[in-house]
Symmetry: C2
């Protein structure tokens, strides 16, 4: 019987979600795991396997094309091992793919979560019909995924796409990666919160709360909140201008919660891109570069993970 | 009779060269054109056609796989038109591919010269056996070519690879492209000359002359000449660190005359890469990133141009 759906898992910073998605991109069912990621690799993989089992029982084994899993951190694709996961070092070196595969008795495709999200947007989101795109997810950090010719760009071992660690200012904010001036230290949700603190808006404001201040013209902090998004948009624009010069892709997508503040950061971002990228300017009338918001929100990674085993089915 | 060789043309800043190269990468013959590029598109294309004719008569029409031409400036690949050539605006908008094709009565493949050089290095130079690489050519500016899965990355219209215009310092030196802090304004031969002037080493020193000063420990300008290459190496390192984080490719090649000064700029370059790229550091023992000098010198573009029509033959 022909395979007609697959199961995608998205392992987030707190717990996991899994979804059954058919080959046309329709989400058949979605569930959340119950094990906190902090409990470590063993319990988490048990939870992943149980979640898959539930969906597999519900939608049938015969029609299942395969399992894809998007996980944070760097993956060694050939080995299916988590090489580095900054704030969860307990997972470092864990052979996630084989452990999950063993429990489920079937092949599993492991992928970096940001790469999976980029593939998800390409398949069913803002990148439908586009074969080459870059996705930046603005969250705690900035995740990146690059799609070339419809497929994830992996590089030598699967670490390609670490766009959040492009240097936009050589003496900028320090980053846990050892660099200074990484774009994620100037344009992520965390960077927005940090700037709010520096500007005296409050000690523990979230990016969402800074956004609310930027919308509230009656708040005395309104102008400073807007300035934060302007500075954040500039930083993002510097990175995007370099990416456009490097790739000349038709589409650059921005995902993550901070994108809600588009009205406040996008003007500075586009201004910076126009000024810094002659590729952007010189193709404006003939083959314009689109910079747009991603569409699938938190489900991008689920769609991308589910897409991985379906690739053979779809082509 | 099976095609066994092709003809590559490399249109430089002053005049053109053409070579017949067989499918195994052996250069059968090489000639130079006689028309200065400054005379404009018509005379230059006539010269290109005559050069091809000479080689075609010498090595036989029956065995010729095709013609490839690398030209400076941005190419619209679909149209075969030169979109922008900074210091030769007379060529802008010129349908180079079709004009040459008409004169030769055969198909011509047009390509950006830096992209052609990257393909040449991949085929017969320092990139042999490597499927994914980036080539930076340090000359008057910095040209870039990106090879993915053995093929040139073109992007939407063929403008991908403008790596010389990555921003390495948002308020750095102004660039003709409209940006500030383009790596080519901090790490090209021109940038080396400009720094020599700023440091009072001389008004019109070439990068080669600055290199000679760096080697001459008896010259009072020796320390300053070495400092110039250290600063240039740092700038290059910032760009390379971002590229390594973006691509995770196994190989990054540096070409152009300035590479002769490797001993003076490479230490600062590698130090910067190590500090700024966790991808570089974390793969150092398992899947190291190689940063190396290109091998084909001024012939890289000829090999790459000749490789274009041979691609079908070779695969």
């Amino acid at each position: 019987m022909a395979a007609s759906y697959s199961i995608g898992i998205d392992l987030g910073g707190t717990n996991l979600r899994a979804a059954a998605i058919d080959k046309d991109g329709k989400m058949l069912g979605k569930i959340s795991g119950s094990t906190p990621v902090a409990e470590g690799p063993g319990p988490v993989v048990d939870d992943m396997a149980q979640s898959v089992e539930k969906l597999r029982e519900q939608f049938g084994r015969d029609h299942l094309a395969g399992i894809g899993a998007g996980v944070p951190g760097n993956i060694d694709m050939a080995k299916g091992v988590i090489v580095g996961w900054g704030n969860m070092p307990i997972f470092n070196g864990y052979p996630m793919r084989d452990e999950l595969s063993k429990r489920l008795n079937t092949r599993v495709i492991l992928e970096n979560d940001a790469n999976a999200a980029a593939l998800g947007e390409k398949w069913m989101g803002a990148g439908r019909g586009v074969e080459d795109l870059v996705l930046l997810t603005l969250g705690t950090g900035i995740g990146g995924g690059i799609i070339v010719d419809g497929r994830i760009l992996h590089g030598q071992i699967g670490m390609a796409g670490e766009i959040g660690h492009m240097t936009i200012s050589p003496n900028g904010n320090p980053c846990g990666c050892g660099n200074r001036g990484c774009v994620e230290k100037h344009a992520s949700a965390t960077a927005v919160s940090a700037m709010a603190r520096l500007l005296g808006l409050g000690h523990d404001l979230t990016a969402k709360e800074v956004y609310d201040l930027a919308r509230n013209v009656d708040d005395p902090r309104n102008a400073r909140a807007r300035e934060i998004f302007r500075v954040m948009g500039e930083a993002l624009g510097i990175a995007l201008a370099s990416l456009i010069n490097i790739f000349n892709f038709p589409l650059y997508l921005l995902g993550g919660g901070v994108v809600a503040a588009w009205e406040f950061f996008a003007p500075a971002m586009i201004e910076e891109v126009e000024r810094r990228s002659f590729t952007y300017r010189s193709t404006l009338k003939t083959a314009p570069t689109r910079i747009e918001a991603a569409k699938l929100g938190g489900d991008a990674g689920l769609f991308g993970a589910a897409c991985l085993p379906l690739e053979d089915v779809r082509t």
